[in-house]
Symmetry: C2
Subunit: 474 residues, 2 copies
């Protein structure tokens, strides 16, 4: 692995300008959903780049889906086997909001925010500064990962690596990967691997490399509490009609306690203790200043991401501010997102919330209550759940992960080993379709402007991507 890494560094020291220029050629192809031909051209260009290097690669298009690229870098027979997932599509890009056109890859001497100036792409033989940035849609999210794998192949210089890498690059991630499960199932026999690396997202905000071993699942719930059939005068009826705004407040307050522990019976059923993850989480630094006071007590940031959460994302009843009227509102609505840890079933979590609401004395309905229901029940609530998908966590001690951690450390220094993101990503598809353990291996800088204008990849992070994948190939 050390040799492989050293070769990768020599290779990019010698050929940095050529690597950047080839990356820029790829970034110049529009990669947005509104341009299907551009997407298809991305897929063809990527396939051809691997084929040119003697790597097995092919495009495949399921009906109605954007083309996917799959392939295999053959390693030593009997050696470790990894999957690499990335996506070549990007979020829409409105040129008006960009400092340089999103599909005119532009090199700058540093981040725009730090006064980075536009510079020409270097000529072969010139030195490359790792602080340079390449601005283009999809530079960081997520074509940089694909280019890094190409760079790692180049560094092999024809040698057979220790590890085999199978890869799948899709073109619909920014639309929620609607065909990813079908691609994974269809191609399962060609995508078998000891561990799947999802090369997406940013490294740790500190700049340290990061390996993320899990994600939370998600479900959403909307609760509507019904009061009188129409808004009623609060002077005349405030003490007589059910007030759905107060009832909803008490209901929402009952869902968790001040320390955020969920107080819904059965909600956390199936969630298992994961002492290894907790131990690892305690080594992860908390986020820096975010403009608010962090929790005064309780677990640190990373440990909190290992717990189920009920988040209140919206409340609506009557009016506030200048529009407020003296009424008992006819209804009150709370919108919740449930963040689930592995073992929790999204449907069961929704049911537990529904049961909790019933347990508070509400008559739970599925639609608008009819007149008889309204007259027969003082407390009426509609609970509407939308199951998302389950959480996934790969043990940090997973045998196939050790080599990944070793490669990351060699390529980028002491890594942050995050047991789980707090957010939700459908990694369960890899588990369900391939029976594979997924981990997230981000390459991009944290300030890459993902999804926004002026998306950029720091050259040093691009180099890190090449290095870490080269080391993994070994």
């Amino acid at each position: 692995m050390d040799d492989a890494l050293a070769r990768a560094r020599l290779h990019r020291d010698a050929h940095g300008p050529e690597i950047l220029r080839r990356f820029a050629d790829l970034l110049a192809i529009p990669n947005v959903a509104a341009d299907p031909e551009g997407l298809a051209e991305n897929a063809r260009r990527i396939r051809d780049a691997f084929l040119d290097r003697g790597v097995h690669a092919a495009t495949i298009a399921l009906p109605g889906a954007a083309t996917a690229v799959l392939g295999r870098i053959d390693g030593r027979p009997g050696g470790p086997r990894y999957g690499v997932y990335a996506h070549y599509d990007g979020q829409p890009a409105d040129p008006q909001h960009w400092s340089s056109p999103p599909f005119t890859p532009t090199l700058r001497s540093g981040a725009l925010e730090a006064g980075g100036a536009r510079i020409p792409f270097p000529e072969p033989g010139e030195a490359v500064d790792p602080e340079w940035r390449i601005y283009a849609r999809g530079s960081a999210d997520d074509r940089g990962a694909i280019a890094a794998l190409l760079g790692a192949v180049d560094a092999l210089d024809g040698r057979r690596p220790e590890a085999t890498v199978v890869f799948l690059f899709e073109g619909e991630e920014e639309h929620g990967s609607p065909h990813l499960p079908e691609y994974l199932e269809t191609l399962a026999d060609r995508l078998a691997a000891d561990l799947w690396l999802v090369c997406d997202g940013p490294v740790h905000p500190s700049g340290r490399p990061q390996v993320v071993f899990g994600v939370r699942g998600i479900a959403t719930v909307e609760i509507e509490v019904f009061g009188p059939p129409t808004d009623l005068h609060s002077g005349h009826y405030g003490a007589w009609a059910p007030n759905p705004a107060w009832l909803l407040s008490a209901l929402v307050a009952s869902l968790r306690d001040g320390s955020r522990a969920v107080r819904v019976a059965g909600f956390s059923d199936g969630a298992f203790d994961d002492p290894e993850a907790v131990r690892a989480a305690r080594t992860v630094p908390d986020p820096g200043d975010l403009g608010f006071a962090p929790p005064a007590e309780g677990p640190g940031y990373a440990e909190r991401m290992l717990r189920p959460l009920i988040n209140v994302r919206g409340l609506r009843a009557g009016d506030v501010g200048e529009a407020a009227r003296n009424v008992v509102p006819a209804s009150a609505v709370a919108s919740l997102d449930l963040r689930l840890v592995p073992g929790q079933d999204p449907e069961a979590a929704i049911r537990s919330v529904r049961d909790h609401v019933a347990g508070l004395g509400f008559h739970v309905v599925d639609g608008e209550p009819d007149a008889a229901t309204r007259r027969g029940h003082r407390r009426i609530a509609r609970v509407t759940g939308t199951p998302g998908y389950p959480g996934v966590r790969t043990p940090i001690g997973h045998p196939a992960a050790a080599r990944v951690i070793e490669a990351v450390r060699a390529a980028g220094g002491d890594p942050v080993l995050l047991p789980s993101f707090g957010s939700s990503v459908p990694l369960h598809h890899f588990v369900e379709a391939l029976g594979a353990a997924p981990v997230i291996l981000p390459i991009a800088n944290a300030d890459n402007h993902q999804h926004a204008s002026d998306e950029n990849l720091r050259v040093g992070n691009f180099w890190y991507g090449i290095d870490v994948l080269a080391a993994l190939l070994g």
Copy 2:
């Protein structure tokens, strides 16, 4: 009193068509704020109608105020002395939404909802059906009361009554009576009375006559809880940033309990026990079917109006429904109206809510928190109070009220004696400017469409108004 009532009934039996026609002449004059000349013409016409009947009457206009009409019907020296308040202005009326033009008084054989057909005004000598309705803006709210007093004067037929009645009719009630305190203070020496009758609002929904001895006071409070400086991703920060929507829910839930007892220390300071009012309230029937289940336990409707109340009129945080996003919202707002009983001070009630919020551990601010405040405090709330005015209650046993109750019973049968409306009306002006005890003596039918299109006064209620004021004059 019985003689006076009998004379009034004979008078309107003999002259019903003429009384209706004179009332219609008044209703034909626009009485909306957008037509100041119409308002002034109302005042002049009302003044002249009293002068024509030999009653002292005058108009007076304070600077910037709509003209008021004041006057006095002289009774027996040393006899009881009552004040009668009414307003001649009405809510705006958009003819598009009316079945007949709002200022073309229209007689119908019954309520529109019951299929009432348009009929011609009767000729002198024809019979008048008490179920007829007069449709026009201001027929019920509140020119009917003024016309009823004129009818009661007519029924005197030149006799000197037992009671003296001073009266004040204003033209700004629908704008919140901004100059009423000044009128009352300016004219205090001419408006002295044992009891002031506020002739406004509807009789009991059952059709029974009603005397209302009090109103609640009011203040409003808006509470904004601050979370992160901007909406944050709820996956990444839902367990780390303060969630203002949950904090606000718990805060709002803490303000009262399931039986609506206020749980804010000091909120009810000054409120006194009023066993006489409670006893009276227990004789008042609860409202009929309002489309929701009435409270399963606890006091009846009228008794609840004797208690302080915190009503939640609005909640706002993030988004709900299709617009919901997976965020920790940056802020959450609740809007409250506080209904106060006599003895409670609106400013003190607001302070008690503020102190309650602080007692829950919130750092209470007056404006947007600055960056240092946000970083220094985990729970931050802005509490903004708008004091309204205090509640008022006249003892049902007030000596001067006995004659009113007697007149109401004689004119309209067994009355509902309501210790207090739940709503808020600034009757405190009568107490503060005149030192007078006010009671509300409504005349209009409950289905009068007050403030809406197709406002109407039932002729039987108009007759009741004449009868009760004639009986009171005696």
